[in-house]
Symmetry: C2
Subunit: 190 residues, 2 copies
DNA sequence: GCAAATATAGAATACAATTCTAGAACATAA
DNA sequence: TTATGTTCTAGAATTGTATTCTATATTTGC
């Protein structure tokens, strides 16, 4: 990716996080980045294009970290707990990205550019599935419809994270890392 | 609430759900409802005002159903499971409202009109807390930081519901009603 | 029946996304 | 090296849409 594109994305993220997507204008991004309106449109097509590009960057970064961590895990228990820990760690380390991703997820999913996201997501899920299958077959994990595992493992941490990112919790997300890791394992172990 | 306001909200919801908030214009709502631009602004101040009003209507409807159902429950187990069932039932019965609420939650929370929502939410949580406290004191439910209960109880169902509403699941949300009710109880019982 | 407040209407305004036109930088091949 | 096409940058012009404004109607309280 070119230097220019990166610069646009960086400054756009800063604008989006401080004023919200709907209240930042292309002129704001032009001012912040010093890059002309024409150039911005050349690279991203329209404002939604910038949002989607930022979203995909964030999601892919997290997916990669998660898959790398999972590859190190031998047991089902370690794997499941690792997914939760990795999720929480990513949010704690990149709170701005996380806020962005949560806030504009449905925007991206409902946008015409959202198919790219679907494609990546499906590929990611497929890889997760192939990690899980042996542990289900071995009896370490309950056999459930595949589509519910994600919700049982990530759901609780995700709900709390959303409130934590909004500054609406007393405790720190990081302090509940093990609580949510344990809860995930309890929910799906046999 | 006046007939006019209701009519605006109804037609606005239809527009928002079919084109998304960002792509429906005030002119669209005027055409759909037959009510003039001036009148729309008189009642809601601006476009965000319509979004927030719709959001609050949806949330309050669900909160009320939940509290009514909870009031009927004697045991901790029934109470916790009722919360989950009630949540899933509401989504299945009002999928459009649910889509709207999920999609624009962070929009409302980050808007200047979002304080109204906070106020209602706090009051609702307070009432939930007073229902729960005796069951924690009696030892039926694990003693945990209060702020994590919500995530453990609702988190999984919420995550799945979001995908179901987007048409991205094989199974029906309603078919997993008991699965998520059981999971919630398992997560917080002693 | 008369103010005052509230509600409706649609035209006028202002602001912001997007498109357009022109030219600069860059690559590639003769 | 020059010719030629492609990608990139620039900012002005256009277009679409939220919001405001002014005027008129309707309802409410006295």
């Amino acid at each position: 990716m070119s230097q220019t594109k990166r610069e646009i994305l960086n400054k756009a993220l800063a604008c989006f996080m401080s004023k919200g997507v709907e209240h930042t204008t292309i002129a704001d991004i032009r001012k912040a980045s010093g890059i002309s309106v024409g150039s911005i449109y050349h690279h991203f097509g329209n404002k939604d294009g910038i949002v989607v590009a930022l979203f995909l960057t964030g999601m892919q970064d997290h997916a990669m970290q998660q898959e790398n961590a999972l590859a190190q895990c031998g047991s089902a228990e370690e794997g499941v707990k690792t997914i939760v820990r990795c999720y929480i760690d990513w949010i704690c380390e990149h709170p701005d990205w996380a806020r962005f991703v949560f806030r504009y997820r449905s925007f991206v999913e409902n946008s015409s550019l959202g198919e790219q996201n679907d494609t990546h997501k499906r590929a990611h899920f497929k890889r997760l599935k192939s990690w899980f299958t042996p542990h289900i077959d071995s009896g370490a994990i309950q056999r459930l419809p595949f589509e519910v595992y994600h919700s049982l493992i990530i759901g609780p941490a995700q709900d709390f994270a959303l409130r934590w990112l909004a500054g609406k919790t007393r405790g720190e997300l990081g302090d509940y890392r093990e609580l949510y890791a344990e809860a995930a394992w309890l929910a799906i172990k046999t």
